[in-house]
Symmetry: C2
Subunit: 335 residues, 2 copies
Amino acid sequence: MKKLMNKAQDFARETIEGIILAHPESLKMVNDNFRCIVRADERKANKVAIATGGGSGHLPTFLGYVGYGLADGVTVGNVFASPSAECMYEVDKAINNGAGVLHLYGRYGGDIMNFGMAEEFASLDGIEVEEVLVTDDVASAPKGEEDKRRGVAGLFYAYKIAGAAAEKMYSLKEVKEVAQKAVNNTRTMGVALSSCTVPEAGKPTFTIDDDEMEIGMGIHGEPGIERTKLKTSDEVVEQMLNRIIEDLPYESGDEVSILVNGLGATPLEELYIAYRKASKILEEKNIKIYRNYIGEFATSMEMAGLSITLLKLDSELKELLDFEAYSPFFQQNRK
Amino acid sequence: MKKLMNKAQDFARETIEGIILAHPESLKMVNDNFRCIVRADERKANKVAIATGGGSGHLPTFLGYVGYGLADGVTVGNVFASPSAECMYEVDKAINNGAGVLHLYGRYGGDIMNFGMAEEFASLDGIEVEEVLVTDDVASAPKGEEDKRRGVAGLFYAYKIAGAAAEKMYSLKEVKEVAQKAVNNTRTMGVALSSCTVPEAGKPTFTIDDDEMEIGMGIHGEPGIERTKLKTSDEVVEQMLNRIIEDLPYESGDEVSILVNGLGATPLEELYIAYRKASKILEEKNIKIYRNYIGEFATSMEMAGLSITLLKLDSELKELLDFEAYSPFFQQNRK
């Protein structure tokens, strides 16, 4: 394991301490607990609050999307491990502006259980809580079982859309509905070229030969749909994008946003080579790219590989996607 | 070699094509040549133009810093290879607003020779050209020979300062002077944990054992000052930062900007763990962090490791550092 770290058990805490030291104007801890992070800027009365959370190791997911026009608070677990329900509850209490809280997170067993318990705790305090699970990973369950899929880079779109809706003072029911619409319109496929190493495990999560890749692998190394010899970028992008397009399906005349996301070790150059092919395929199919995002949005530590995400847009989603948003890790249209 | 690419010889071209497809409102080619990229937004008459350039494989350096409040044009070489003088000359002609051009780039042999030839070509056309070489890499030559050092992540500060000065309508002489002041006040040290692979070479640039690291390694794999067993992050940061601080030296009472830069494969989490220690060391030494930057600013493809850069500030440099700047790869204070 080659990491620039101190003790493995301190990895998540020291990461968060560094983030808070770097960005005190934007982020702060609740009760001095590094697992409970909320926005430090001014709060808006009666704005719906958005809570997220999950394991560490995916920056800028999840904590990086706590900011204006995004989420209001996050609960931070150890690397690839769900945080506790108690911390989620503390975040809910800290961010509630009187209009309720939306739990918005990726569909993973531990997180579902813990956010469910946190919802019960919060309800006892009279805080209204709704939840939307992000389920964009096409490879994780077959068509027809979309609600059994995992959440991956499509989380970004869910934060962006729901966060904008909340800033525009949508009600909790309305924020939930538009977040669910965004999830319903989002599909992602990933490809991994190398493993990552969880600090406390100390060895790679999986092994993969020097000439192999795995299409559809999850962001914690969950098995994909095909392990194959390394193909060209164009071939990989075509295979992934076609699978995405067929799944929703995205159709001629549709407008989409595309996210080409690096999993950690993949150079930005390779993401743009992938974008080049993806944009050509979409043009051929008469699917119009309304807005693109290219970079690292949801990572798996030092895993090499990338994912492609499409979000099908309508006029409401376009307006929310275009809305101002900023955090220490993401900026768009900041005024 | 595990890369998501097509033919190795197409790597740089396909990268740039992807970038231009993704960001046509910001960047465009000169004469349909992917090696000559300039700003696509509105030009300001009599604004000093800033040209940079160098090999591919370092994104967001160099091309990522072509934008408002940054550089105006870039010449793009193959991976880790200098672009040609002819292309540099084409960029100079394309970006000159009548107030002359500053060649601002890292001190590497091929680039020095080619920018020198381009300067001669441009001068024959009556374009006034000045140059500033970025020489921030402390490990690349001893103290007393600062002008023999290589340019690494400190390039970012040179673009940020010179670009702001140009937007504020400083003269060519003034832009050159303040860019040189920024370079004189900037020091960087890096550490590498793994090699990168140049696509056309097809094998790692250097070998390093699984339990080793190399302090002071350059961004093309140039030898560093110490190869050692892997140390803790805190130890590495302390060693690098002390070397930087002693070199200028940075002193009690100074105000600085700090840049913690990932070399490619290093997770953002590890950059923040490094920032945590760096900020504590600076606080102990009564050196105040005025503004921090943490992320990937100058990479070496998929190399694992990071660098730390300090820029000593005065009131002029603070004003220029705070100035609005944006490109598809960097945004600060965008209005």
